[in-house]
């Protein structure tokens, strides 16, 4: 093997090690991780939002053809949300605009991610996995407000 080829091979390997180092740095030092296996949670079929601390909430969200329950979530600025997502029918996808939240909603499993809303505004969540004829209409939003007396949800289960 030519020396230039060996050099290229070495540099390629080094590049990939560097990239991997960056991933580990983000995971360990910055605590940015991907969803993991959730086993300590009972299956749920209806959505709920409840407060778990001064600025923290737990939201159980149900995706179904073709709506998220709830479809609107109002929370005060600075809220940290423990977000549990499942599906009651087929596979859906859930991604919150401008935030590192991206979850597959799969029947028979519970997915989890924590998210903090530091800026007021509206953040859409659109279904991003094909879920049938009206898939493109399946979306909802977080509304984050400066002053909010009572967190509330719309479009939940009846």
């Amino acid at each position: 093997m030519d020396n230039s080829e060996k050099l290229a091979l070495g540099l390629s390997g080094l590049l990939l090690v560097l990239f991997f180092g960056a991933i580990m740095y983000a995971a360990v030092a910055k605590d940015i991780d991907v969803p993991t296996c959730i086993t300590d949670m009972d299956p749920f079929v209806t959505d709920t939002l409840f407060q778990t601390g001064p600025d923290s909430y737990e939201l159980q969200m149900v995706a179904r053809m073709w709506a998220f329950q709830p479809s609107t979530v109002r929370l005060p600025v600075g809220s940290t949300v423990d977000l549990y997502v499942t599906s009651q029918d087929i596979i859906h996808g859930f991604k919150v605009e401008k935030h590192n939240v991206n979850l597959m909603a799969i029947p028979g499993a519970i997915n989890y991610m924590r998210v903090t809303f530091n800026e007021p505004g509206e953040y859409m969540y659109a279904c991003h996995e094909f879920c049938g004829a009206a898939h493109h209409t399946m979306a909802g939003r977080f509304i984050i407000e400066e002053r909010l007396d009572e967190p509330e949800v719309d479009g939940g289960a009846l």
Binding site: I23, A26, K95, L103, P107, H128
Partner: protein, 563 residues
């Protein structure tokens, strides 16, 4: 090595021609679907004459016909051509035709159920969306047909090794066997998914299905699938391209090393498609991420080796300086039209490769998973280097196997450049749209791109418009290609078929290392199996113990289960 000709039998020639021409028709139906999708997504049309208003039906046949049917046929036809040629042995035509007929029957079956709207499940066919049983049976026949075809090459190769002890296997043969070893291992998982889960459930023999398990088996297959697409293109880059450029392959050993690395690392990586899935622990996702980085290495080596081969060719043509060779390559020579398909693919693959590393980068996947970025990325791979190499290869094969001169060579030479310009524009639009949050697999024209809808996203529109412009240019490129292809197919042949011989542009190596440790597939297959067991056992365990209940089948048209 060097130029030589091989006499194929009439039956072998017919088979290769059939395996190229029929899928080309199916490909064109899929390409038409692709053009319509860009128009649907932008809200320019709400229905088209072929699928009516059903965007997702069009999306299903676009994916299935272009990414699964066309690619599998080409890989089989290419192997049926290159393996006998390289080993100088004829095929067992009975077996070869059996495989071809299985694949044709299966593909047509799947295509029909998709077109009558009984299998709108996209090419990933995730349950609990249910397709007609004939869709699953059709795909199974396609896969089994491809197994039969590759099984047919094994005795030829074993015989050759017996007769040529101590000789290196021709690189083209190493590449084609690598392609089909990866394919065989990968398709075992999807065979389990289809035969033991989807098909009995679709037929109503069992009620419920474990969605996460089916999905995990799909991705066991789904990622090596992309290497199954890519590897025949790599064979063309290593074996044909240096010669077409007027030079030599920089390193023979690099080629062999790259193929063996693909055998080892292609499969234990599938969970990087499931980073955002529940029921799989994050540390196993990370492990699959590490292996994905390992499988990026052979592509980086390829980038160097092929560039070095082209540099050598450019310098033989009188290039001076560090980068002078880049301007001396035969980009726009109509007699050398095949080179155009390979060089455009390589340029596109720079972007495709970078995007792939981003996707594999664990938590970075959060930003792009299932957004329009993803189709933006894979059009730069499967619809870039793979598609272009397969189109160039198809035209070359029909010319050789039907004994015809390529017609409209200028058209054939210019088509990949037009296509590439369109592809880069379209993928840019999809990728930036994806970073803004635009979902993939979504008929945005009916909601997010419709100014009358409450969901309208004005800031996505410039990027959606770019996909229309790019997609239209791609379509023009393909039409130009198809005209050249069928003009060649229907032209008069050069004299009687019996006399015709087949020639491939086989490159000689510049550095021909002995590479004795890369001469046998066996150790690499064993390492691959060990890595697969290590990386998939915990994933399957997690999936089985963290999921509950089963899923009844659904149609895409109703939220009420079918049973």
């Amino acid at each position: 090595m060097g130029d030589y000709s091989f006499r194929f039998t009439k039956s072998e020639k017919r088979l290769v021609a059939v395996l190229i021409i029929i899928p080309m028709v199916l490909l064109f139906i899929g390409v038409y679907g692709g053009l319509m999708q860009t128009l649907f997504r932008a809200g320019i049309i709400q229905s088209d004459p072929f699928v009516g208003g059903d965007y997702y039906k069009g999306l299903t046949f676009h994916g299935v016909l272009n990414a699964i049917v066309f690619t599998t046929f080409f890989a089989v036809a290419f192997g049926n051509a290159l393996i006998p040629y390289s080993l100088k042995k004829n095929l067992n035509v009975k077996v070869a035709w059996t495989s071809g007929i299985l694949m044709l029957v299966g593909s047509v079956m799947a295509a029909i159920v998709i077109l009558i709207g009984e299998a709108t499940v996209l090419y990933t066919f995730y349950p609990p969306l249910k397709a007609h049983p004939l869709f699953y049976i059709g795909l199974t026949l396609l896969v089994v047909g491809s197994w039969v075809a590759s099984g047919n090459w094994v005795p030829m190769y074993l015989q050759w090794r017996k007769e040529n002890e101590g000789k290196k296997t021709p690189l083209a043969v190493v590449g084609m066997f690598t392609t089909f070893i990866v394919w065989f291992i990968a398709t075992l998982a999807v065979a389990v998914e289809i035969l033991f889960m989807l098909l009995p459930w679709s037929l109503g023999w069992v009620d419920e299905i474990n969605v996460m398990l089916a999905r995990t088996l799909f991705w066991f297959f789904g990622h090596p699938l992309v290497y199954f697409w890519l590897l025949p293109a790599y064979v063309m880059y290593y074996v044909f391209m240096p010669k077409l450029a007027g030079g030599k392959l920089f390193s023979d050993m690099a080629g062999r090393l790259v193929f063996m690395m693909f055998i080892v690392f292609s499969v234990p990586v599938g969970t990087h498609h499931q980073y955002m899935d529940p029921a799989i622990s994050s540390q196993w996702k990370l492990l699959h991420g590490i292996f994905t980085f390992a499988v990026a290495l052979p592509s980086l080596i390829t980038a160097f080796t092929i560039a070095a081969s082209l540099e050598y060719a450019g310098k033989l043509r009188g290039a001076k300086g560090l980068f002078g060779w880049m301007w001396k390559l035969p980009y726009f020579k109509k007699e050398n039209w095949f080179f155009a398909y390979l060089i455009t693919g390589l340029i596109i693959f720079i972007f495709g490769g970078i995007g792939g590393i981003i996707n594999a980068s664990y938590q970075m996947n959060t930003v792009i998973h299932n957004t329009a970025w993803v189709p933006g990325h894979f059009h730069l791979t499967v619809a870039g280097p793979v598609m272009l190499a397969f189109l160039g290869g198809s035209l070359y094969l029909v010319g050789q196997f039907l004994n015809k001169t390529i017609r409209l060579k200028t058209w054939a030479m210019i088509a990949p450049y037009i296509y590439t310009i369109g592809l880069l524009i379209m993928s840019y639009g999809l990728k930036i749209g994806g970073l803004m949050g635009m979902p993939r697999r979504t008929n945005t024209g009916a909601s997010y791109a419709n100014p009358d809808s409450v969901l309208y996203q004005a800031d996505w529109m410039p990027y959606i418009d770019l996909t229309v412009i790019g997609g239209s240019i791609m379509f023009v490129g393909i039409v130009i290609y198809i005209i050249s292809f069928f003009t060649t197919v229907f032209s008069k042949s050069n004299g009687p078929e019996e006399d015709a011989v087949v020639t491939f542009p086989i490159s000689e190596p510049l550095h021909d290392e002995p590479s004795t440790w890369l001469r046998n597939f066996k150790p690499y297959i064993i390492i691959a199996i060990i890595l697969i067991v290590l990386s998939y056992t915990p994933v399957i365990y997690d999936v089985l113990q963290a999921t509950y209940g089963g899923s009844l089948p659904y149609s895409p048209d109703s939220p009420v289960p079918l049973r």
